[in-house]
């Protein structure tokens, strides 16, 4: 006599289940994709989907337990989802309590490079009127420390911030002097490194200032993208990276690349350049529709589907590198995967909901004006002040609780925006009012024709497809978000 009942005995009394909230859409012609309130997703064959929504899925179907484990329903065996979902939702929105952690100081709009795609609309080097002065810097700092965020990061941007290093030093020392005890303070300089030297790095080393630079790929691409006198931007950048690492430590230097028309056919070479220079990952980011990128038509030179091909090819290449023992990751995918595979998010402003404008980032421009995001001030440099929140002369409450800012955040919230509210990928996406304003002159945007929307959905689908096709890729992606 068998000690245990047959497996079928446990399945025979199929209990009905209660659906939990979820969204769905076609994934391909044979498959539906479902996602729930915390971004857990499941692919189902169309016929299984029909069974599921009509309460006919039986517990002998292998997908039954997958759906239950991912909180798509509760049954008589377990209702733990009702306890877990609120905790995970709370975790997901925890970042909102860390109100305005990133404060960007545009210390100078001058730059000694003349990059055609520059999103900042730099001014020529000799115009001192484009530098931030001490008075504006101090007033801005007084606003920074009124932010309720426990962690404050001050990022110096330009133009080229090292052209006004005296004000960088002033801000660092003043910030340390007036910082309330309970705040954690960190600094980053976003620089092309052409002007870096020992004296600057000694200061950076003393005050734990990190370096973020630009590396667009191999020498010919980088120098073509980033013209400067002497045509030596690449050489200066590589020298600067090595010198900065020697002073500050290896992990204190990060690099970003910008995808231009010339980059599109050469993603492998660009990735190889990052590996050659011992970076652990790359951010295959598209060009933003702001600043000089629009004026010089760099943005319109390629369409988003060309960037998508570039991104997919790059991601495939990175997966193969990992298969061959070279650990390397792609940052844009990592941001999204974190939303897909965990209850956490890293606060990447473009993919925040509510939008990160003002509540994740604030920008203090050289002229004392305050913008809701870096892209908002880039737009201003081309003559449109829509995202200007006020100036350093204003009161904190007038800036950060202004009707203007709250209206943008409220109107563009994706859980109530047309199409977004029903979108199965909404949990991974963001509101990005500046992109939609820049491209469609509407902060909410017409999502069916939105380039932002279409591009992101393609990326989301590609990541899910790769994970669905390969356990190796799924494990690799999980390792990127741990």
């Amino acid at each position: 006599m068998a000690k245990f009942l047959n497996k079928e005995e446990f399945y025979k009394d199929n209990q009905k289940y209660s659906l939990l909230p979820f969204k769905f859409s076609d994934f391909d012609k044979d498959t539906k994709i479902l996602s729930n309130m915390i971004g857990e997703f499941q692919l189902l064959p169309n016929s299984t989907f029909e069974d599921f929504v009509n309460n006919n899925l039986t517990n002998d179907n292998s997908l039954y337990s997958d759906l239950r484990d991912k909180h798509f329903f509760t049954d008589t065996n377990t209702s733990v989802a009702l306890d877990l979902l609120p905790i995970k939702i709370r975790t997901k929105y925890q970042m909102l309590s860390n109100f305005t952690a990133l404060h960007i100081f545009v210390v100078s709009l001058r730059c000694e490079h003349s990059c055609p795609y520059c999103q900042v609309s730099r001014q020529s080097q000799d115009k001192n009127t484009f530098d931030m002065d001490e008075d504006k810097a101090e007033k801005a700092l007084n606003l920074v420390f009124q932010s309720p965020s426990e962690n404050i990061k001050i990022e110096f941007q330009g133009g080229e911030p090292l052209l006004n290093f005296e004000i960088v030093k002033f801000i660092v020392l003043k910030a340390i002097e007036i910082k309330p005890n309970e705040k954690n303070l960190s600094f980053v300089i976003a620089t092309n490194l052409a002007l870096i030297n020992n004296e600057i790095l000694e200061f950076c080393s003393k005050y734990n200032i990190l370096i973020s630079t630009s590396l667009d790929g191999p020498k010919d691409i980088h120098n073509k993208n980033r013209p400067r006198k002497g045509n030596n931007s690449y050489e200066k950048t590589i020298e600067g990276i090595n010198l900065s690492r020697a002073y500050l430590g290896f992990d204190s230097v990060s690099a970003l690349m910008t995808t231009t028309y010339d980059s599109l056919p050469r993603v492998e070479e660009i990735i190889d350049e990052y590996i050659k220079n011992k970076f652990s990952g790359i951010f295959l980011r598209p060009l933003s529709p702001h600043g000089f990128a629009i004026k010089t038509k760099s943005y319109s030179k390629y369409r988003f589907n060309e960037w998508l091909d570039f991104y997919k090819k790059g991601l495939d290449y990175i997966i193969n590198l990992n298969k061959n023992g070279i650990e390397f990751f792609e940052h844009f995918s990592q941001v999204i995967l974190k939303k897909m595979l965990t209850s956490d998010s890293d606060g990447y402003v473009d993919l925040m909901n509510p939008s990160g404008l003002g509540i994740a980032v604030a920008v203090y421009n050289y002229d004392g004006k305050i913008y809701a995001s870096d892209e908002g001030r880039m737009l201003a440099e081309t003559g449109d002040d829509y995202f200007c929140l006020g100036s350093v002369e204003d009161e904190y409450s007038d800036i950060f609780t202004s009707e203007k800012l709250l209206n943008v955040l409220d109107t563009t919230f994706t859980k109530s925006a047309p199409l977004c509210a029903d979108c199965v990928y909404e949990e991974y996406c963001g509101a990005d009012p500046v992109f939609h304003y820049a491209t469609q002159k509407d902060i909410v945007g017409h999502k069916p024709t939105s380039e932002f929307c279409n591009r992101n959905i393609e990326v989301f689908k590609y990541l899910i497809k790769l994970m669905n096709e390969s356990k190796y890729v799924e494990n690799l992606f999980r390792s990127w978000v741990r």
């Binding site: 659906l19 939990l20 909230p21 929504v53 609120p86 939702i89």
Partner: protein
Amino acid sequence: MVIDLSVYSKEVVVSVLHRLSYIFTGKLVSKDKQIAEIEFVKIENGYDKENLEELIVKELNDQILRERISQETESVRNLILAHAFSRTNFIKDNG
């Protein structure tokens, strides 16, 4: 294209018109209390009226299902959200 409003509510039809507005612009015209008609104002290249009608029916059915799921899970959704935000300081007690 004729729509029976006793089957598909006006909200559902408008939602589908918006969702598919990247391939056509449609105008919803009321014929009587129960019947409305979608008039095709503009159709993007690569589509014709026949395959659009098929697509619209599919989207209408999906949208109805979305509404059904939303209604069926409304109370539990509210419960989950209330539970999620009850222990935060996002909502201040003004009492």
